[in-house]
């Protein structure tokens, strides 16, 4: 075991943030901006150093994990939270790819952001993001996780709105932050639920798990179940915000307004998967609430399907990838919903590689075409940019689940788990058979989604790299392969997207990935809801989880078939066909596709409009009424005052006389009545 303190890991990016922010502010007055060499070096080296720390720690970590409490954070009655870090199987995996991919993408950004006015600012944000993300996955309690949680949201806001001269980007950034805020409030209230049940200690992951074990052992689960379910639902609301699930998903496609490396890092590989991480981290709590798990499953399935379908209609290359990300996140939540948390984390892991390479490839394409993002103006790029094309095609094979590539292993694992683990049976007298086993329905949904995935990804590859170039001639002459600083990270990530799957290839007997996660997740995954109310039930007496025994090879075959079929459809659909030419600058889909794409935007719009109408009422009605009331009072006062002046006499002498009479009268009254009292 190495003696690297855990706080070093987040410290490096934090240092980077501070240094780069100072450079950015200090260099803002001069025209040239900060020297790119120094800034780039700092921006890459510091995350790289924390990656090295993570690797060193990861290789020597004991199974039970490393725990470190730094200091006290908040200490008031009812709430006592420490700043502490927890490095275990789960955070090891997350940290490895967060810092690793973060470093690679920082390297890529040096090329991508070359010559940008806000070069130093960009890397300050990226470092801040890495800091927050590391805190998110490394913290040992929910409060600190929330710090990272909002921190990444903040960085996402800053980076989406990075080119802030264009108000469209700013609006997208605002949308991202506000939608995330809705989820964050869910997270906050979820924490409060936990505090209500278990006191402030329940915010600590270890203590929470102990507390839950105590509950199970004591048979008290029933007592707290309503509150616990509420907590679970609220945390899941937080996850839907951060991981772009129904209904809080509209911000992610808009978030593509940011620079492409940002999309790759934040909106594909790391930040958006933090929802999945949270569910896995709280898996012990989630498994106690089967209803919530079913909710997660449904939401995941709907999201996966809907987003895949929406991805079919997009013309913007980044938007396709955005919807694809949402869809893949849906898969992860489906896996979490059948309490296959390790499978969902595995998909997070592989997805990080292939989606990052897809985004970086798309970035290279956009870079080559001088900012063009509309796929209808691309085509035939494979001749001009062969390396990029290869990267994208490998990543494409990974995402559609072509046998042997990373996505194949993780996606098929998820589909298999959905089929075998889901013991949710939908019953109702109005049903023909009386009961519907949901596992088949969700499996078919997943498989169908896999077909659509292959279709839209095939469409993307075909429209971008094959056929004839459809853009204007002037840009064509400038098309060039990306510089080496961009290509190296892409190639590294491509290796990842090919081979990452072999960490857990059950059919060839490798379960390395599952074993690393086992200390953290096995308890939750082995948990059976039936045991919740009856702790004495022995392990053997569990209701058998696996309802149907199917040969795993069948799943693999079906998955492969789905991928091949989807690719075939894509080739048939777009391989030869004439691609409609572009009218106007808008890349947004039209017609029925528009309705489908912006379905949830319309739902959001409803709420936004409601709030705005209430605000209008406040401003125009309530406020005016209050003001009118206020001015009525003042008017009455001044009218009465005017009336009172009648009693004043014009002449000073007369007034004096009258006041003397008044005094005399008073004296008289006092004398006659013997005092007023």
């Amino acid at each position: 075991m190495t003696n690297i303190p855990l706080w070093l890991i987040p410290l490096f990016p934090l240092l980077g943030t501070i240094i780069l922010a100072s450079i950015a502010v200090a260099s803002s007055p001069n025209k040239k901006g900060a020297p790119e060499g120094i800034v780039g070096a700092i921006a890459v080296l510091l995350p790289a150093m924390s990656f090295v720390c993570v690797v060193a720690l990861a290789s020597t970590m004991p199974d039970s994990g490393i725990r470190e409490t730094i200091c006290n954070w908040i200490d008031i009655p009812l709430l006592k939270v420490d700043i502490g870090f927890l490095f275990d199987g789960l955070s090891r995996i997350m940290l490895l790819f967060v810092t690793g991919i973060g470093t690679l993408i920082a390297l890529y950004s040096i090329g991508y952001m070359h010559g940008d006015r806000g070069f130093a600012r960009f890397f300050a944000y990226i470092n801040l993001f890495l800091f927050s993300m590391i805190v998110l996955v490394l913290s040992d309690n929910l409060m600190l996780t929330f710090l990272g949680w909002e921190g990444v949201g903040l960085c996402s806001y800053l980076l989406i709105g990075f080119w802030n001269k264009d108000l469209k980007n700013c609006k997208a950034a605002n949308k991202a932050f506000i939608v995330n805020r809705v989820g964050d409030i869910g997270f906050l209230l979820g924490m409060l639920c936990l505090i209500t049940i278990g006191g402030a200690g329940a915010l600590n992951y270890d203590l929470l798990n102990q507390f839950i074990q105590m509950l199970i052992a004591g048979g008290h689960v029933e007592l707290v179940l309503p509150m616990l379910s509420l907590a679970a639902v609220l945390f899941f609301v937080g996850c839907t915000g951060k991981s772009a699930q129904i209904p809080l998903l509209t911000w992610l496609p808009d978030a593509m307004a940011g620079p492409t490396p940002v999309s790759a890092l934040i909106h594909a590989a790391t930040m958006v998967t933090s929802g999945v991480y949270l569910v896995a981290r709280l898996s012990n709590m989630f498994v106690l609430c089967p209803d919530v798990l079913n909710l997660i499953l449904v939401v995941g399935a709907l999201t996966a399907f809907w987003a895949a379908f929406a991805g079919l209609f997009q013309n913007d290359i980044k938007k396709v990838l955005a919807y694809s990300t949402i869809s893949q996140l849906g898969y992860m939540f489906m896996a979490a919903g059948v309490s296959a948390f390790d499978a969902s984390i595995f998909h997070v892991f592989t997805h990080a590689f292939f989606k990052a390479s897809l985004f970086l490839g798309a970035g290279a394409v956009i870079h080559a075409l001088a900012g063009e993002q509309d796929m209808r103006r691309m085509g035939g790029m494979i001749k001009k940019t062969p390396v990029t094309a290869c990267v994208m095609i490998f990543a494409f094979l990974a995402i559609v689940g072509f046998p042997g590539f990373a996505g194949f292993w993780s996606k098929d694992l998820i589909l298999e788990r959905i089929f075998t683990n889901c013991n949710w049976v939908f019953t109702g007298t109005w049903l023909a058979d009386g009961a519907v086993p949901m596992n088949k329905i969700f499996y078919v949904t997943g498989l169908f989604t896999a077909v659509i995935t292959a279709v839209y990804m095939g469409r993307l590859i075909i429209m971008t790299f094959f056929g004839e170039y459809r853009g204007d001639k002037e840009t064509e002459s400038h098309i060039h392969e990306a510089p080496a600083v961009m290509l190296i990270p892409m190639i590294v990530l491509t290796f990842g997207s090919i081979f990452a799957g072999y960490l857990w290839a059950e059919s060839i007997g490798i379960t390395f990935f599952a074993d690393t996660l086992a200390p953290v997740l096995s308890a939750a995954q082995a948990f059976d809801p039936a045991r919740m109310f009856n702790p004495d039930m022995m392990l053997e007496e569990f209701i058998p989880r696996i309802t149907t025994h199917v040969n795993p090879m069948l799943f693999a075959a079906l998955g492969t078939l789905a991928a091949l079929f989807g690719m075939f459809v894509a080739w048939k659909g777009w391989g030869k066909a004439h691609i409609p030419s572009v009218k106007g600058a808008s890349t947004a889909p039209e017609g029925y596709a528009k309705g489908w794409t912006f379905l949830w935007d319309y739902v959001h719009l409803f709420f936004i409009k409601a709030v705005l109408i209430v605000a209008w009422i406040c401003d125009v009605v309530v406020d005016k009424v209050l003001q009118a009331f206020q001015w009525t009072i003042s008017a009455i006062v001044s009218i009465v005052g005017d009336g009172a002046t009648v009693f004043q006499v014009r002449k000073v002498r007369l007034q004096l006389t009258l006041s003397l009479f008044g005094v005399a009268l008073l004296v008289l009254v006092v004398l006659l009545t013997g005092g007023l009292v």
Partner: protein, 104 residues
């Protein structure tokens, strides 16, 4: 005949009445002010008169308070005349009846 305290009070009353009458009946502001001064001094006189009637231990108050009141009267006269002069500069008149601006 010994000086009866009531005589002093009667004198004070007469002076006070004269002062008030002057203040009320004259239109010239200077006379108004002088009337007020007269009334004030009548009160002082009344105080001194009472000081004479009361036992020694308590009569001190009756002698001290007029001192205060004289000082205040002096200050009041200063301020009052200053104001009259200012008003006169503005209006070119010291007729009290023309000053009706204070009425709302």
């Amino acid at each position: 005949m010994e000086l009866q305290p009531i005589f002093i009070q009667l004198l004070a009353l007469a002076l006070f009445a004269i002062g008030i009458m002057v203040a009320i009946s004259r239109r010239n502001l200077f006379f108004v002010l002088m009337g007020i001064e007269l009334a004030l001094n009548a009160v002082n006189l009344s105080f001194v008169g009472f000081a004479k009637t009361l036992p020694d231990t308590m009569s001190v108050a009756g002698q001290i308070i007029p001192l205060f009141s004289i000082a205040i009267a002096a200050a009041e006269a200063c301020v009052g005349f200053a104001m009259v002069i200012f008003i006169f500069r503005n209006r070119e008149s010291i007729d009290a009846d023309t000053y009706s601006d204070m009425r709302g």
